[in-house]
């Protein structure tokens, strides 16, 4: 069986769903970051696959952008996470409720 565009898209959808569930379920901030990375990479797979399918490099270029931005985002996020951990001794999401409406 030849692996076509649909397989990539299905993989991407499955990964995205896993990431989404992770975003909703995880209570640990670090694991939340992991879930976000899964989401971004699911999209990256879709970008790369569609780009290859159409023979257009724009999609792959975009995937690189996403990787770069994800990296910087994680760097900033981890920095904040460390500060938070030093101050509060925990990174549990349920305890971060200072912005109650």
């Amino acid at each position: 069986m030849e692996i076509g565009l649909n397989h990539y898209l299905v993989l991407s959808t499955i990964l995205f769903a896993i990431g989404l569930v992770g975003v909703m379920k995880r209570k640990n901030l670090l694991l939340l970051f992991f879930a976000t990375e899964i989401l971004l990479n699911a999209v990256n797979i879709a970008f790369a696959a569609i780009s290859h399918y159409y023979g257009d490099l724009t999609g792959q270029m975009f995937a690189f952008f996403v990787i770069a931005i994800a990296a910087s985002e994680v760097a900033v996020g981890l920095g904040l996470l460390i500060v938070w951990f030093k101050r509060h001794g925990t990174i549990d999401l349920d305890l971060m409720t200072s912005m109650k409406g």
């Binding site: 989404l20 975003v23 909703m24 995880r26 209570k27 939340l32 999401l93 349920d94 971060m96 409720t97 200072s98 912005m99 109650k100 409406g101």
Partner: protein
């Protein structure tokens, strides 16, 4: 000459603004003085303009700036000084100068001294706009301006319930009439395409009589409100709640004559529709008699003079309606002088008597108030039309005009009214100045007014005496503009019989008034005498029950209707709808605020919900659009696609 036009127009405006600066501060004498000086400047400029026009100068027409220019509509702030408006300007500025100076003394102890001058000067400015404008729109601005200032001045002592009520009554009644006037102005624009006097007058000749009649009627409705003609007359007597200088300036000499001015100014229109003219004359005649009859029994000094004003306005309308525009204008001028004088004299008496208005409680004041007595007597003689005072020339000419035009009913009624006028004027003079000193019973110590107030009144006194000599020159000045012609009664015998007859009739009325009211032994009426219980007396003292009728059949039903609308429609429907919408939004917010738990995890879940919802919508839209042409066109119609 344009310079003088602008000075005459804007000096009162500057005066008003200047005094307005000090409205929140205690009395400052200089506001009164500066306001008077500025109004005097305006008087001087008007005089220069009058002399210029009198010597045969061309009317001055300036366009200060454009006011409205949209499509075919072009209305400038244009001003016109011709023989008619300069006459009005003279009357307005002369009387207002006198009244300003007089008011410095009259309002001496009033807390609102500065505010008073601000309103008074604003009134003069509005009146100047009214008479100087070269189009109906500008006239209407002035018209509303004087209405507003009249409201502010009638209700000047607004802490008095009656004063603020009277102010509102005057304003509302004028608004009703102004609607008529506005319709008239719209009709003029509709049919002629312009509101400029010269353009509109030229176009009137091409219109059909029905249209002209409607225009004439609606404009006259406006005039009826401002000049307090029946049935919109009740406000004028109630307007006497204002300070007396205001009554003298606004409710005797100037504002109430604006209606007459409008008819005179629109003479080209009214001379095309003699039927409306005849109606105006008849109404004027009726009001002359009607108001005079109410003045016969009234026991409020100022109201008597107000009814007399109303009656004289009736004379002016009678003259204007019959086409004798110049006579109407001349009577307007003469009347302004002697009636303002009469009011200011009444103001002196009021001051002396500590605001007592019932002449039955006065009596014998001529000993302490010699000058006021002389002035009021002369003003009353002028009002009664005794030779050689001002009223003789103006009022007798109205009678002659009616007679020469063969309107004998109008003539007869006006002649009879002249007798009534003489009677009630001298009833007032006799009760105030002659007879026993009844005021002593009430423990009042009257005193003469300040000397400068009497000096301020002297120009009016002078004009009340000599205004008659201006009749010929005045006639020649306005002859061309108002297409005036002198009224000649063919037979000299008839003329002399008429003149002497009128004089004797009026003289007898005066003597009768003196005989009846100057004697000693007059008591303050207490409602027990036979006269006071007669039907006619009750009818007259209650002003023919017209205010009662208005109260009972217009104001009260209106108030009840308003209450129903307020409780049923406003509260139950309009308010309920608005409150309902607000309530829904509020409760939604109240319920959904629990979403904002501050928990990042919960927020992320809501974010995912939002994403899913938006995604589903996008899919639904996409599918619908692809498979249905109808939806596509509907969406493109909304501008979505």
């Amino acid at each position: 000459m344009e310079k003088y036009l602008y000075i005459a127009l804007f000096a009162p405006f500057v005066s008003s603004l200047f005094s307005a600066l000090f409205t929140a501060t205690p009395k400052k004498l200089f506001t009164g003085i500066i306001a008077s000086l500025l109004i005097f400047t305006s008087l001087v400029s008007s005089t220069i303009l009058l002399i210029y026009l009198f010597k045969g100068g061309e009317p001055i027409h300036v366009e200060m700036m454009t006011w409205m220019a949209t499509g075919d509509l072009y209305i400038p702030f244009g001003f016109l000084v011709d023989q008619v408006s300069v006459t009005m300007m003279m009357v307005v500025t002369l009387v207002s100068t006198v009244v300003h100076v007089y008011a410095i003394g009259y309002m001496d102890h009033d807390k609102g001294f500065n505010r008073f001058f601000s309103w008074l000067s604003a009134f003069v400015f509005s009146m100047m706009i009214l008479v100087m404008s070269d189009n109906y729109a500008g006239l209407f601005i002035g018209w509303e301006g004087v209405g507003l200032c009249s409201w502010g001045l009638i209700g000047f002592w607004f802490h008095k319930e009656s004063a603020s009520w009277a102010a509102n009554e005057a304003f509302i009644m004028n608004r009703i009439a102004d609607l008529g006037m506005l319709i008239g102005i719209f009709l003029i624009y509709w049919n002629t395409g312009t509101l400029q006097y010269d353009g509109a007058f030229a176009a009137f000749h091409t219109l059909d009589p029905t249209t002209l009649t409607w225009i004439g009627i609606f404009l006259f409705i406006g005039a009826m409100g401002k000049s307090a003609q029946f049935p919109l007359h009740t406000w004028l007597a109630d307007a006497m709640e204002g300070p007396t200088p205001v009554s003298a300036l606004i409710h005797a000499a100037t504002m109430v004559t604006a209606g007459v001015y409008l008819v005179i100014r629109s003479n080209e229109l009214y001379s095309l529709i003699p039927d409306v003219g005849l109606f105006i004359a008849s109404l004027g005649t009726f009001v002359a008699l009607f108001a005079a009859s109410m003045a016969l029994v009234n026991r409020d000094m100022k109201r008597i003079i107000a009814y007399s004003t109303l009656s004289q306005l009736g004379y002016m309308f009678a003259a204007a309606g019959l086409g004798a525009y110049w006579v109407a204008l001349f009577h307007l001028m003469a009347h302004a002088f002697f009636k303002a004088l009469l009011f200011l004299g009444a103001g002196n008496v009021m001051h002396a008597m500590h605001d007592e208005l019932d002449p039955f409680k006065m009596g014998g004041l001529k000993k302490v108030m010699k000058w006021t007595w002389i002035m009021m007597t002369i003003a009353s003689l002028a009002l009664a039309g005794i030779f050689p005072f001002a009223g003789f020339f103006s009022k007798d000419t109205i009678l002659e005009a009616a007679f020469a035009d063969h309107h004998y009913v109008i003539y007869g009624v006006l002649l009879f009214t002249a007798g009534l006028t003489a009677f009630y004027s001298f009833r007032l003079v006799a009760l105030i100045f002659h007879g026993e000193e009844r005021y002593k019973l009430f423990g009042i110590h009257p005193h003469e007014a300040y000397r400068f107030m009497l000096v301020a009144m002297s120009p009016l006194l002078l004009f009340a005496i000599i205004a008659g000599v201006f009749q010929e020159p005045f006639f020649h000045m306005v002859e061309e503009l108002l297409r005036a012609h002198e009224y000649h009664i063919h037979s000299h015998t008839t003329l002399w019989i008429m003149l002497l007859g009128t004089q004797i009739f009026v003289g007898l009325a005066i003597l009768y008034a003196y005989k009846k009211y100057a004697r000693s032994g007059i008591k303050v009426p207490d409602g027990t005498s036979a006269t006071e219980n007669s039907f006619i007396y009750k009818l007259l003292i209650n002003q023919y029950y017209i205010p009662y009728f208005y109260e009972e059949y217009i104001i009260r039903p209106y108030r009840e209707l308003s209450a129903v609308f307020w409780q049923k429609i406003d509260i139950k429907i309009v308010d309920a709808t608005v409150d309902g919408i607000a309530g829904i939004i509020y409760s939604t917010g109240e319920k959904t605020r629990t979403m904002q738990s501050g928990n990042l995890s919960t927020m992320l879940k809501w974010m995912v919900v939002g994403l899913v919802v938006l995604l589903s919508l996008a899919v639904i839209f996409g599918v619908t659009v692809r498979y249905s042409d109808g939806a596509a066109s509907a969406l493109s119609g909304l501008g979505v696609m």
